[in-house]
Symmetry: C2
């Protein structure tokens, strides 16, 4: 960490950080941010660390606002989620996490606006993973699925170990966050996740290279799913679904060519809210839902929302 | 008008209004709302009246917040628009109008978030009229255009005089509002509008019934446009376009079947933001963009935003 009382020169921050940086001490860090001389304090957690997320409780109690794209706190135990929401209200402090789902796309705020103004959400369905979006938007029968995975990995579109994408856990975490925003109480183990990693390759003793070498053996299975879909004039999409009556699921599912999900391209995310007000035609948000620039933009927008809440004129 | 110091019984408001209502007196109305005993005052203008919009200046000067779906003030003279924006900042008062474009869909706030966080908007394009969306989503060659207009009118999907939709002026007003939000300075007469009312039928001396009777004579023209588009595997959409370099236009335009605009149905609105951050793949918002319920929801969301700004915990 590097604590500085004065503004940091952003041109040379790397060098200055190396010169003046010290070992992380979260207690001193918190005290520094929450200086008595400052009217408002905010910590923006840009890690994906569980250890940092564990501090949110303390920070909210100390009336420090929190803004974060870190999914860990909100997708962890329901009990902790509820506690953070309660603390936020009790201490009149903001806890903003728009970028935990689809980065800068207007998802959490849109959902919150609907709920807070009395709408009833009937269903949220969407493609929440840019990587899985890309894989299935590309999977049209010209190449085997394993080839597409390999190419995507070579281009850096997947996690270093593509199983981290294919397992569906990242999508499940986003689904949990939206479900809880809707008022549902559930934990990760209650989401039915279709894991796209063949069962025999899930063992962590199998390293990435072995996994990549074995994956082509399962191409037939995936091809059959595609052919079945194509025979019905459909395409495959890996979607998350939250439906208070039907349950919460993450799965590979065929969609008609006229469905909005069929039309996405590249690594687009897409999200459809069906509600009492948006019943015949859902409210749909679509676009890139990952990447440093759009995520930073979304975090900054949350910061401006906080500034407005504490009285700033924008 | 009906001024009451106590909460109004919403079950019997109509009867009570008839009994206790009096002639509108905007000065007394304003004084009543802006009572010294209340910490905050807001007027929600749910009219489409120019006369009410003329009062915004006074209200902002008196530090009364304004929330409105009324497009008149923001799409009128650039000078007044600028004055209202300046007054808002000077007096630290909120002037919120999310619902002037696409009702409850997250459009203005999304655009504002992008701009305020440093993104550069390159283009906004969209289908902004539910009525024109419906007409062209239905116009696939099976029926003549005039028949579709007649059926839509019979079902109440158009204005009583469909020329108010077909003229494109409603779309032009929305385009102006978005363009100004982007920082462009322009007035309505600088928007190039493709008026879909045949020139010979624009005269206000021609009444609605005469217009409806004459419209079939122009079906050939419209059919030709459709056939031309279909030969290129395209569909027709009536869109508004804001492009700081290409200009601001409202026009009937062909789109490829793979374009997001081609996929809309019913009376869906759709809007694509192309920016430095959302360059290869735009940020797209789609859904019903008119109607009392979704508009009321959007107005209520603006009211909650205002409440948050003045310190409420939501």
């Amino acid at each position: 960490m590097w604590l500085s009382k004065n503004a940091i020169d952003l041109k040379n921050w790397k060098q200055l950080f190396e010169e003046s940086g010290e070992a992380l001490d979260l207690e001193r860090f918190t005290a520094h941010v929450n200086a008595a001389s400052l009217p408002h304090a905010v910590i923006i957690d840009c890690t994906s660390s569980e250890k940092i997320a564990e501090k949110y409780e303390i920070w909210l109690r100390e009336k420090i606002h929190i803004i974060t794209p870190n999914k860990k706190a909100n997708s962890g135990q329901q009990k902790r989620y509820q506690l953070l929401q309660d603390l936020k209200r009790q201490h009149n402090v903001q806890y903003l996490y728009e970028t935990t789902v689809c980065a800068g796309l207007p998802v959490i705020q849109t959902l919150r606006d609907l709920i807070q103004t009395g709408d009833q959400i009937q269903k949220i369905e969407g493609v929440f993973s840019g990587t899985l979006s890309y894989l299935f938007n590309s999977f049209d029968g010209r190449k085997n699925f394993s080839e597409i995975v390999r190419e995507a990995r070579d281009q850096g579109f997947t996690e270093p170990d593509p199983r981290d994408d294919l397992s569906g856990m990242d999508v499940a975490r986003k689904v949990i966050i939206l479900a809880r925003e809707m008022g549902l109480e559930l934990n990760l183990d209650q989401v039915a996740v279709e894991n796209l990693v063949p069962e025999a390759l899930r063992d962590s003793k199998i390293n990435v290279e072995q996994f990549m070498a074995e994956l082509p053996k399962y191409d037939n299975e995936m091809n059959e799913k595609l052919i079945q879909a194509q025979q019905q004039q459909q395409v495959l999409r890996y979607v998350g679904l939250i439906d208070p009556t039907m349950g919460t699921r993450v799965e590979l599912k065929p969609f008609n060519l006229t469905h909005p999900f069929a039309g996405i391209s590249g690594s687009d995310n897409i999200l459809a809210f069906t509600s009492r007000r948006y019943l015949q035609q859902p409210l749909v948000v679509r676009g890139p839902g990952a990447g440093p620039e759009v995520t930073a933009g979304g975090i900054f927008a949350d910061l401006l929302r906080l500034a407005s809440h504490v009285g700033a004129t924008l």
